[in-house]
Symmetry: C2
Subunit: 473 residues, 2 copies
């Protein structure tokens, strides 16, 4: 059975979602029955789980713009074709490319020792042989930004801010601010390099990489993350006196590297020009094999779409699976998709991306027109036996879907329990063994259920309430 | 409070220790009271815990024969002198030295990807640029040893045997057999290199190093451990077809490198020539900072001895703390100590080494003369409120103490709960944050208590029963 969410959390979620606790729309009995069948089948899913296992094994890591990401596109096209999807294709685009060649961070004085570090994506290279300087420690990016130049000039900055584990991943935002801002703020004040405490929540020497800024290959300065235990070690050394550290980061950059979105469809019937978009991203960071981020998301949406395709009759609307390229390095796939399909966004009925690992889904957030909220209530009710509680109507839909949401496409965010997601995310430890098959299958069930209902009912999720007639009172 | 050991386990231990469940020797009331005072003080220990924190911070890793191990000796002499110990000194010796310079293991075909690997201690170097060959996988060392040469020749061997987590660390022995034997068995059959599944119990990409053989710097061939998730990845790839891997290991070796044992004492009174030896080892592997292996052990015995030294009167016998050098690479410190002190082993009344992390002690094993077993019962009774159950009389006393035990010196093994010890041991993750202060202090209490009783009572732990008189039927 799926783990139920603690009743206190569920009650709080119900309370917060007050606005949604309204009348549900009626769901056709036959659609309801088919949805139950999909949920049952999802609980025995093999196709989705095999997709992640095979992708992460037969391709491995999939750094955006690399030869590996290109292999992942070829692999996906072959696999999705083999699985019988319609209109399998790649929509190609180009991106700036950044890759680490080598990196080392070491205390040189007073107690020479290596630190476990990883260059941040987009880090500038150091001169060959590295830079060596005294550490100046800050508790936060804001503290660095407020510091006088004299405190930073010629030194190596160290921001020692912890990342908080939360169910909804909200602790990550703070972490990303320091990851994005450190090199720029440090360089502007004459620092030689920036080190940050890894944006991760696990207690291991397992540092977390990630993009510094969307300008991709042109970082503001050399920057690396050191693991939590290494950050503690540096802080303990600093409590004892001045500490000198060397940082050596060598990189490879290219201006125009190939990337692309892989698209596959389950073609609808009488409403086949209307799209239910299920997204994920195909690229990953280079340290792990991108199993949780975001092989799992791709397996979930492929598994869900494949179950729908296997129904005796396809649904009325088209289910479009989009495996976005180059998400990690600046949402380049999202931009390319919007550019390519911008003239048909009105035909995008609903969109959702799975990109938060494979933890169990515990709430159902939407961004629907206000008159469409009864549809949200209906779908959540169907998902309720899977442990899914009502969410608010402020969903963002996922990183690659944000651009669609901002253009008015209704979106859904099935909220996963991500309490341990940042234990693995962007680290070498993001590997297939970290996926719990049972929890993964609950995700497939949720995606299959809401996508099928959205595709088969013909509901309009943009629907706004009629303006009240003026003049009364 | 200290965690009590599960009652089922305790009951089983009582049963197994039947031979010890005999009459206890009487403990002088004043000694008993002082022992209780030591236990209370140990529960607030700062000196022992600071010793580990400072050693692992201010020195860091302490690879045998390295400049770091030399710094650790200097640091320890200064620290132990500062703490007021008597006769603080180094007994120097030389060892063969091995160090990794670089290592990389990568799948080159069919799906190029890096594997997280660490060279085993004593690994031979590969030719510059590494070796590349097809993987041949075995489930165990025995299976490799039984394989025909034709199956192995020109290939890279991979032994994919899991390490089992156990409370007493007994799963480690099997792991060590493959670590010790793989390179020799592989090389003898013409293999290019050997890879083993890491001798560790954690699910992270955190490979475990360790010595291959006691011949130190002269390994039989190139050998590395890959982490559990990487071993799983390699096995998944092999399920799909042939896999080619490259292994590049570069090393530094020296014939005569300096090492040494650091010794400090709490000088006894009327029996000061009689020694209660408390040991640990000062060297560590190079990946972590050797906090659990064996900074903790040194902190425990230093903390315990220091509490005894702070009593209003020193005990009758001398407490000798020995921080052994070069344990990891072949027990060189143990051999040097036995060589140096071999003429006085009869004056070694009792010996014990702490070298299994900082988990709570749950049983009290001894190797005493049979007529001295009542002393074991008495000491265990004193330790019982700390959660310590009776153990058998087959203790080995710890790795560096084994040579003394085999020469007839009575030994004690306070058995720690090591269920998670091999999650960290010999990996980059063996760092100070992995030590639980409360569990650490329970260890200090146990060592302080039994060492004080042994030093103050004058008991003879070698005592054998009188042979029964012959002739009576």
């Amino acid at each position: 059975m799926f783990k139920p969410v603690g009743s206190a959390i569920a009650a709080a979620a119900m309370l917060a979602a007050g606005a949604l606790a309204q009348e549900a729309a009626e769901l056709d009995a036959e659609i309801a029955a088919t949805t139950q069948l999909l949920i049952e089948q999802a609980r025995a899913d093999e196709i989705g789980l095999n997709f992640v296992e095979d992708l992460t094994t037969e391709v491995g890591q999939r750094l955006a713009g690399s030869e590996s990401e290109a292999r992942a596109r070829d692999w996906s096209v072959a696999e999705l074709t083999e699985l019988g999807f319609d209109n399998v294709r790649v929509e190609a685009f180009e991106i700036p490319f950044w890759s680490r060649k080598s990196e080392s961070v070491a205390v040189t004085s007073p107690a020479p020792q290596n630190l476990v570090a990883t260059a941040l994506g987009g880090s500038a290279a150091t001169p060959t042989g590295g830079v060596t300087g005294e550490i100046v420690r800050f508790e936060s990016l804001a503290e660095l930004q407020a510091a006088p130049i004299s405190q930073v000039d010629g030194k190596i900055v160290f921001i020692d801010e912890e990342t908080i584990a939360t169910m909804d991943g909200s602790g990550y935002g703070m972490g990303v601010r320091k990851r994005s801002g450190c090199a720029r703020a440090a360089s502007d004040k004459g620092a030689l390099a920036c080190l940050i405490r890894s944006v991760g929540t696990q207690p291991h020497r397992m540092p977390h990489t990630g993009i510094m800024a969307r300008d991709g290959a042109e970082g503001a300065g050399p920057a690396a993350a050191i693991s939590g235990p290494d950050a503690d070690q540096l802080t303990r050394l600093l409590e004892r006196g001045p500490v000198t550290v060397s940082v050596d980061i060598q990189t490879e950059i290219k201006t125009n590297a190939p990337s692309g979105n892989v698209i596959a469809e389950v073609k609808g019937t009488d409403l086949s020009d209307e799209i239910i978009l299920l997204g994920c991203h195909l690229d990953s960071w280079d340290l792990g094999t991108g199993a949780l981020d975001d092989g799992a998301g791709c397996g979930i949406v492929v598994g869900a779409a494949r179950l729908i395709a296997d129904l005796p009759e396809p649904p009325r609307r088209t289910i479009r699976v989009v495996l976005y390229g180059a998400e990690e390095v600046g949402l380049f796939g999202a931009t390319a998709y919007a550019r390519e399909h911008g003239d048909h966004l009105d035909k995008h009925i609903l969109a959702s991306e799975s990109d938060f690992g494979a933890g169990p889904i515990w709430r159902f957030q939407t961004r629907f027109g206000d008159a469409a909220l009864p549809y949200a209530r209906t779908i959540q009710s169907v998902l309720s036996p899977l442990g899914v509680t009502p969410g608010d109507n402020r969903a963002r839909g996922g990183p690659d879907i944000g651009i669609l949401a901002r253009s008015g496409v209704p979106v859904v965010t099935p909220g996963q329990d991500g309490i341990d997601y940042f234990d693995y995310h962007h680290t070498p430890d993001d590997t297939f063994d970290k996926i719990d098959p049972e929890e993964f299958r609950q995700n497939v069930a949720v995606y299959a259920a809401f996508a099928y209902i959205a595709a088969e009912t013909g509901w309009d999720f943009r629907k706004q309430a009629e303006p009240e007639s003026a003049g009364t009172q």
